[in-house]
Symmetry: C2
Subunit: 133 residues, 2 copies
Amino acid sequence: MSGSIQEPVVEDCAFDVFARACPSRGTLEHVTGRWGGLALGALYEGSLRFNELRRRVDGVSEKMLSQTLQALERDGLVHREAQPVNPPRVDYELTDLGRKVAERLLALIHCVEGAMDEVLTARARYDETRGAR
Amino acid sequence: MSGSIQEPVVEDCAFDVFARACPSRGTLEHVTGRWGGLALGALYEGSLRFNELRRRVDGVSEKMLSQTLQALERDGLVHREAQPVNPPRVDYELTDLGRKVAERLLALIHCVEGAMDEVLTARARYDETRGAR
DNA sequence: CAGAATCCGACCCGATACTG
DNA sequence: CAGTATCGGGTCGGATTCTG
């Protein structure tokens, strides 16, 4: 044991999002990013092909969907299954890890959706009191 | 009453994030945005002053923190209490709604933090197979 | 201390065109 | 169908300066 002089204490929480340099921030941003969350949410209902996903996530461009899926696949949250047929067919589905994350994410999404009345009311009040600016 | 001609049917799911124009997307982005989530997470532990928050959320600039807090206050997730003293003292704390949202958010954050080993492994594998690219 | 205002570069992201 | 490549505007966001 070695009473080392003074444990610099890297902290036991090795992956603390609050720390600037932590890799978990990056993953969290993939998950909560503009399209990442919606993609995970859509895939939670089941496997989807590229364009099915594109239609489900209203407003996403091909480029962004592609980019988003690659990030999620790289992080091990989404599995990509490409069949070498013609026309090409590629299916996306959540991994076990992806499903766990998606559950938490959906809980958050539903919480926010369900609170929108309250949010809208709060906004109106805020804009009224200091909205005139 | 008033059989108005045809209810435009705003849909029963009045606030569906998957719909492009839904206001819940905006709020969700405030919550899950780069700094919004971290601010909510930090405030979950208790009321904080501006600069305390700034130190807790490592890497955020004054500008972004200020901007973030305003958005969250407007959405009714954060309460801002300014005391007219000198030097000025302003405390931020979660509202009831904010606390509910923060709970879901922290569940997600901890889930991601806890999965980072797995994520990092997945990344390494991904980069190896097609990383040469 | 708690911000507001301004400047300015980086990159996000959508539209378009092209490939297999 | 399932993407990639390229371009360009808009926004994000950091550094700095200023106020009360």
